[in-house]
Structure formats: structure tokens, C-alpha cells
């Protein structure tokens, strides 16, 4: 945790609640996107995000300032998302949802409105999805990912390997025209 964040946490705990916005603003986009890629829906993602920030504010006193605030808030996001996905079989609904949030530009007909990223993420289980998003999209280390998800580094490697294989397979099946690569 950097010094600035530490100061902000102390300010909030001393009653200056306005500092909370400055503390969480660097993560507002990444947390929303993380939640969006897990749920596949912006509204659900916003709900998860809201709950995450609310919990972070409410339980800020429990946060250990020697640790990373980013990892702590990501952990809350993952826990909230897990509860959200588990709640009333939303998991199946979320995983089978058709994503029409973004229109893919060139080479795609209206039938292929579904985002490439979401299409690929669809092939993953919830755990694989979380690990892939944290490691490959958010750039966290294997150790940090394991800490956030409360599993071992080995489990992270196993799921990550499986996730990358599935994504490659789905990408090749659905978007063969995008498969060009340059030899290095």
C-alpha cells in the first residue's frame, strides 16, 4: 500500500469521509469492468460495484494498512460477485447470457454483436474466468491472484492453463479470420 493511500485511509477513519472518493477512484473502472466480465451485464456489474465500495467503506477499520488496498478491494469484489452469482441460480443465467453491450467493428455481421472477449469468457467456468481476468486482464501476479481468491498458487496455475487453452480454442472456432500471427 502506498503512503498516499495510507494517509487517505487514516483521514477517512478520522472522520473525513470525502477522502473515500480519492481512495477508490483509481479502482472504479477496473472493479466495474471486472464485475462486468464476470456477470456479463452492466447493471449487475454496477450492483456488485456498489456493494463492493459500500463494504470497503463500512469495514475500512478492519483493513490492514500494511497490505495492498488494491488486493483488498479486489478480494471484496470477488466475494460479492461470488455471492451474486450463487444467489438464486443466477450463475447459470449469467453464464448463458447473450452479450450485446458492445458492437464489434469491422468484419462482423449484426448476428455477431456479441463481444469477442465475452464470447471467449463464456467458455470458461466461474473460477477460470476469475483467474483469467485477474491474471491476464488486471495483470496481477499468480500469488496475488491466489491470495484474492483464497486458493493455492498451484490451483491458480492449473485454472489459468485451462482457461488459456479454452479461450484459444473458442477464439479459433468463432473468429478464425482474426487468427493471424507474426513469427517472432
Amino acid at each position: 500500500m502506498n503512503e498516499n493511500e495510507k494517509e487517505l485511509v487514516e483521514m477517512i477513519l478520522n472522520g473525513n469521509t470525502e477522502a473515500f472518493e480519492r481512495l477508490v477512484i483509481p479502482y472504479r473502472e477496473s472493479i466495474l469492468n471486472l464485475a462486468y466480465r464476470i456477470t456479463g451485464n452492466v447493471e449487475d456489474a454496477k450492483e456488485i460495484c456498489q456493494e463492493t465500495f459500500l463494504r470497503a467503506f463500512k469495514y475500512l477499520r478492519k483493513f490492514d494498512t500494511r497490505k495492498s488496498f488494491k488486493n483488498w478491494i479486489f478480494k471484496i469484489t470477488m466475494n460479492v460477485a461470488k455471492a451474486y452469482v450463487n444467489e438464486s441460480n443466477k450463475g447459470k443465467e449469467i453464464l448463458n447470457r447473450t452479450y450485446v453491450n458492445k458492437v464489434i467493428k469491422d468484419n462482423h455481421s449484426p448476428a455477431e454483436l456479441k463481444s469477442i472477449l465475452m464470447e471467449c469468457l463464456d467458455s470458461l467456468s466461474i473460477m477460470e474466468r476469475k483467474i483469467f481476468l485477474l491474471r491476464d486482464m488486471e495483470g496481477l501476479s499468480v500469488k496475488e491472484t491466489a491470495e484474492i481468491l483464497g486458493c493455492s498458487s498451484i490451483a491458480v496455475r492449473v485454472h489459468l492453463s485451462s482457461a488459456r487453452k479454452k479461450i484459444k480454442k473458442r477464439f479459433q472456432e468463432k473468429f478464425p479470420q482474426w487468427m493471424g500471427y507474426h513469427e517472432v
Binding site: 466480465r37 456489474a45 467503506f57 478492519k62 463481444s115 486482464m137 499468480v142 513469427e183
Partner: protein, 211 residues
């Protein structure tokens, strides 16, 4: 390294998630195997594209929406830590608590130790007095036994009858029925060696002569 093994490890080569030694082995294999190299480049390409798409394809809060959210959150109260646990965070309080606990423990252990020693002495005394008592009792019993042996009026009680007595303690009627009658008269016969004269004396229980 064989192709099968290499392909298993390829997804983890991309982000250097394997130990350096394994990465080197796979890289050496890729250099010499066209198929594995193609596979590796495909992985690399797909992952790069996915990351690029992820960077372009982002959602964000509308400013108005964000402000409302932050206002809503900051209007809440930050949860206080349990009032019982708050003093535990102060090192001075913790130190004093520990000192108190240790001293209480020492007092408790010390008292127990002293008590045990005292009890030990008392027990020893008790044992000694018990032994003395037993000795007195046994000596008394012996004396009584000698006297009883000497007593010519002692009733003849067989082993079986002793058992019955023991069983029927406190039931005198039953005892009387089952026991043989007590010897009430004793006779003494005196025979002269010379004349062969026989004199028989009868005594009662109190050694009074009876005609």
C-alpha cells in the same frame, strides 16, 4: 522434451508462470519443433488480441451516477471494532493484562503446591495414627483370643456357625435357633492311681461347685 509435454506447458510459458528451468526446456523444444512453435505463437496472438479487446472494450460510470454512489456510501457509518477488542490493541494494556495473568497463575500454582505439601504431611500423620490404632486393635484381639482360648466355658462355634453369626448380626432370635446351646456346666474328674477312685466335680458357669 516431447511435443505432448511441451503443449501441456505452453499456456503457462506465455506469462512466465513456470519455473525458469522448465521455461528454458520448453523454449529449446519450440526452437526445434515447428508445430509446437506455431501453437505457441497462436497462444501468444490470441492472448494479445484478447487483452487489446479488453483495453478497448471498457465500461465506466457516468459522473452523475458515480457522485450519487459516493454520496450514498459516505453517508453510512464506518463500522466500529468490537468495544471488547479495542483495548486489546493498546500495547500497554496488553502488557499489563499479561503481567496480571502471569502473576495470578503463579499465585494459583504456588498455593496448590503449598496445599499439596500440607495435605501430604497430614496424610502421613493419619497413616501413622491408623497404623498405631490397628496395632492396638490387633494386640487387643490377640489378648481376647488368648483369654477366649483359656475360657473353658467358651461356646463351641464351628466355621459354619461363624458365618451364620456374621450374616445374622442383629437378629438374636435366629442366632439362638441355629447355634448350639452355650455350655453351662463343666465337670472335673480326678482319678487315684493307687486305688482307682474316681471323683467327679461339677461346676457351673461361675465356677461354683454344684452337688
Amino acid at each position: 522434451m516431447k511435443c505432448k509435454k511441451s503443449r501441456e506447458l505452453l499456456p503457462l510459458i506465455l506469462g512466465n508462470e513456470l519455473p525458469e528451468r522448465k521455461i528454458e526446456k520448453v523454449r529449446r523444444h519450440i526452437e526445434n519443433c515447428k508445430n509446437c512453435k506455431r501453437e505457441f505463437l497462436e497462444y501468444k496472438s490470441v492472448l494479445k488480441k484478447i487483452k487489446d479487446i479488453g483495453r478497448d472494450e471498457k465500461v465506466d460510470w457516468e459522473e452523475k451516477e458515480w457522485k450519487i454512489l459516493i454520496d450514498k456510501i459516505t453517508s453510512q457509518n464506518i463500522e466500529r471494532k468490537s468495544s471488547i477488542l479495542i483495548p486489546l490493541e493498546k500495547p500497554a494494556f496488553l502488557a499489563w493484562t499479561l503481567v496480571l495473568l502471569v502473576s495470578f497463575a503463579l499465585i494459583f500454582v504456588g498455593r496448590n503446591f503449598i496445599n499439596k505439601r500440607e495435605i501430604g504431611i497430614e496424610r502421613k500423620n493419619v497413616v501413622v495414627s491408623k497404623l498405631e490404632k490397628e496395632e492396638i486393635r490387633s494386640s487387643k484381639k490377640e489378648e481376647i483370643a488368648i483369654l477366649e482360648e483359656k475360657n473353658p466355658f467358651k461356646p463351641v462355634v464351628k466355621a459354619k456357625q461363624r458365618k451364620i453369626i456374621a450374616k445374622t448380626k442383629g437378629q438374636p432370635e435366629k442366632m439362638e435357633k441355629k447355634m448350639e446351646p452355650e455350655q453351662k456346666i463343666i465337670s472335673m474328674t480326678i482319678v487315684s492311681r493307687d486305688t482307682g477312685l474316681k471323683i467327679v466335680w461339677f461346676f457351673n458357669k461361675n465356677f461354683e461347685w454344684e452337688e
